[in-house]
Symmetry: C2
Subunit: 555 residues, 2 copies
């Protein structure tokens, strides 16, 4: 039996586009003599479709795509994911389902039982879990068909669920497992995912065909890396990350012990993965919203430099435009460094000094502000003048503003709401400052300059101390701990959810712990209005981290 | 047996404050010879605590409060809600629990079984549902103890769950039901809630003591309205809305058929309820964040007028400051109307013309904008200059900016991101424009002016056609359908989740449906960065409505 895996980049709610991609893949698989083709979870509608699920019309359109695929299933089995209506009055209205289509008929439907409801996931909001588990016969073989999380209750120290769908199916002696997934990227996920798939295969001693989605959906990035794992737990094949892919596998070959060691596992370099995820995240955000051109502010620092590079990789130099907006407090070399980067990348830049607007605000408010000292207010006015200039360019020319805030700043609220926090997408909002330095090193090895030159980011941007340059001689360390101290503490608080006592027990300074946790917690109101953040870690700001704004805890 | 209901305004994560309130209520109930006092769901930590639940330390602090209440339970039973750790490895780590404490001991613990996971609710994200149901004996009576949603699977056309906790408890022949709730306000909820409580009481023929929380938690408002319902389904008492309350009831009196008709049901006038909810929402947002003073922009239109009135009611005239920021396109009477309102309310106002800043931006971008016509860019610059002025005042003087956007505008994206969408709290973001007119009528009956004069909102603000005044002679109807047509369509799309075909079948014009649904859907990116909205309807923007940004559906 020849089994095709089709790792596709799907688009939420784009029924025509998703169907066209799947029909093309079916044709291609047929041409390669495949018996069966497997598409990702909820491939008809894209993932996560969120509250679109509350519209009957949306579910009906999913069903229409299933019907069309059914018509295309003559001579080839199709496994495809879709929401379906729950026929029973009790419980949630929908199931998260996998169809097996063949010769114009529905051979079987299996619903998902383990519904992830944590971090970015909200599946219990919409779906009733499966209570029946049956294998599906196809061309003389029995398929154990499961959906994404259904296999994640095995090999887990702290299982989130009380049942294990494959355990329920095993009495029917299936020949192989098909798992259709929408498993999002973070920089450790590919490793974890292989571990879970292998644990399942070793438990049941039959091969698994695991198909994952690829592509960016605003904040959430799907990385692909679909897997074929032989009964002995060896990786027969791992598909590439971040690109679409169609391959056909011979079941007998996958079953054969000779296959051991043939594995085609991808390299898992954290910084390269983050880089590739961010480029895809930007590209898909623009492509799926129907935009081409980006704009951003270039300060001469590394955050905006990295954002400009990633945007250029994603959209092409001709589609990226930058503004250099020096203030009276900007150092002379800031403009030079920014200009150098723009020239290295070959992107259009304009220099617009912010002093005239800043002065106009100070004059307009002179009466109200009489006798008040210069403080964060004036710093924020400068940041908001920049935000307004960038948004004006965005509005006039249709360039979407990219936000350049990093995760360290976003955590402690070191940024101006409606100022440097403006933008449609926060490219680096899940990347700590110390990780951005690593990203810079990696980027500077890439041939991204004119004529393929490396080192596009000027050395001076890298070595100078980080500064917002909003008052004379300002440095980030005036109001924040050094990033080498701050970032590990933030990581353990945000990603690992360690409380204050645990952090102090780990050796973090008590005063620092209290100060930093307070900064994180009292700035929830800012993050509430932040641009969506491309998620690259196990805990990004946004839908995956839901904190009360008026919460008094640790504040 | 004498049973006290303590309807409290609790604060998320404010363990000391919440405990102090409960201990004071216990003292007061003891003084009134109560045998038992009932507090709302999750009263130790406030509701909804969201991802604070992921911190062990947070749960430990909840347990500490339970211990302190236990110590206070000598001579009085205490029913109180708290998250608890799930001792079983499988499943979620926590339960949502109700404790019965008495004489320093835990008499019983009942976990919640029906975990709301829809709209603003995320309970399945944290909690494992109860599978055991036992009544709890207290002073010779059997209590059927349930938590909020546990009674919502009865009398529901489309039940979300597959079990019914009270059904499981009835074989033990309980004497009465206690339901501890955190049931949030919307303008139909009080009616619905009474219906559900009555349906349960009539089903089981024993009385119910239903205690609800009160208070604002940023977006979500709890309205109180705690209930005592006699076995014949009659309302023995309904506590007031939006205020704390402690009352002691005699069980025998509640049981007696003579009680029929003694009901003390509150009036349920939609516009008054909305008004009261918004005032409480503002007051609690400030109080719980530790702020006193508000600022907002007053345009002369009704949205900012209503916001100013509500803020004045919530915070006092001495704590509300407004800016009048005329543009070159503002009509003369706009400033007059705004000034009149400020004078009627006795709040401080300043007039700051925006032309100098606007001109500075136009000059700074003259080279880039050369040859480009005046368009939405210039309108947005004006709105952003206003936002920057308001935020500068906010930063300098510590006045929190209130946002004045209404739900109609927010739906169709008729507002400037980082401009008139600025603010810490969107007071009217869940109130349609047509409802704001009703609110104005109601407000103008209230004695809110100097010396208790009514009609604080000037007639001229009410009768003039709505306009953003961002270009000469502009009216909202230049780019939007009239609000009388727009709002019902939005209501059926947003609140009732009717799809395009259903809306057309209802009689809405097909072209209008397509145009409006597209406007709603393509503006998700703006709402993603909007201020939190005080929720007054069954479907508000924010956590209760989760839509993909790159979703192509109906866009």
């Amino acid at each position: 039996m020849r089994i095709a895996i089709s790792q596709l980049n799907l688009h939420i709610g784009n029924f025509e586009g998703n169907l066209a991609k799947m029909l093309a893949a079916v044709e291609s698989a047929k041409n390669q003599q495949a018996d069966l083709i497997c598409f990702p979870e909820q491939s008809v509608c894209g993932y996560p479709a969120r509250d679109f699920f509350e519209f009957d019309d949306f579910i009906n359109r999913c069903m229409h795509s299933i019907e069309e695929l059914c018509k295309a299933s003559y001579g080839i089995g199709i496994i495809v994911g879709s929401p379906t209506k729950n026929p029973i009055a009790l419980g949630k209205n929908l199931h998260n389902s996998a169809f097996v289509l063949y010769n114009g008929k529905v051979l079987g439907v299996q619903h998902k039982a383990l519904l992830p409801t944590y971090d970015i996931f909200d599946e219990y909001r919409y779906f009733e879990p499966a209570t029946e588990f049956k294998t599906i016969e196809f061309k003389g073989k029995r398929i154990a068909l499961v959906i994404c999380e259904d296999i994640w209750n095995l090999g887990n120290e702290n299982p989130l669920y009380t049942i294990c769908p494959l355990d329920e199916m095993m009495p029917e002696k299936p020949d192989f497992i098909v798992n259709i997934s929408a498993s999002p990227f973070d920089y450790v996920q590919a490793e974890t995912r292989i571990g879970i798939v292998r644990t399942n295969v070793l438990q049941y001693k039959i091969p698994m065909f695991y198909v994952n989605m690829v592509g960016g959906q605003t904040d959430v990035i799907f990385d692909g890396g679909s897997l074929v794992v032989s009964p002995d737990g060896s990786v027969f094949d791992e598909m590439p990350y971040f690109v679409e892919c169609l391959k056909v596998y011979d079941l007998e070959e996958v079953m054969s012990p000779l296959s051991t060691g043939k594995g085609n596992e991808q390299q898992k370099d954290k910084i390269k993965l983050i880089h590739d995820a961010l480029v895809l995240g930007i590209r898909d955000y623009f492509q799926k919203l129907g935009f081409k051109k980006a704009i951003l502010g270039l300060s001469g620092g590394i955050d905006s430099a990295v954002t400009a590079v990633l945007a250029t990789e994603a959209l092409g130099a001709e589609n990226v435009r930058v503004l250099l907006m020096p203030s009276q407090f900007s150092s002379g070399h800031s403009v030079d460094d920014a200009r150098q980067l723009a020239e290295n990348l070959g992107i259009q830049y304009d220099i617009v000094a912010i002093k005239p607007m800043y002065d106009a605000f100070e004059t307009a408010l002179a009466q109200q502000f009489a006798g008040q000292p210069f403080n964060v207010t004036e710093e924020n006015i400068q940041a908001r003048v920049r935000g307004t200039l960038l948004m004006a360019m965005s509005n006039k020319f249709g360039n979407i503003l990219l936000n350049t805030t990093n995760k360290s700043e976003m955590s402690v609220g070191y940024g101006t709401l409606y100022g440097d926090m403006c933008g449609g997408l926060a490219v680096l909002g899940d990347v700590y400052k110390t990780e951005i330095y690593e990203l810079v090193k990696y980027i500077n090895t890439l041939p991204l300059g004119k004529n393929g030159a490396p080192a596009v980011i000027p050395q001076n941007s890298i070595i100078k101390p980080p500064s917002a340059e909003l008052r004379p001689g300002q440095k980030d360390t005036d109001s924040l701990p050094p990033y080498e101290e701050l970032d590990p503490l933030l990581f353990h608080y945000i990603e690992c959810r360690k409380g204050p006592n645990e952090l102090i027990a780990m050796g973090f300074d008590e005063a620092l712990v209290k100060r930093v946790l307070r900064m994180v917690n009292i700035n929830e109101f800012k993050r509430e209005q932040a641009a969506p953040v491309i998620r690259i870690s196990t805990k990004a700001f946004g839908m995956g981290r839901r904190m009360p704004i008026v919460g008094k805890y640790l504040s």
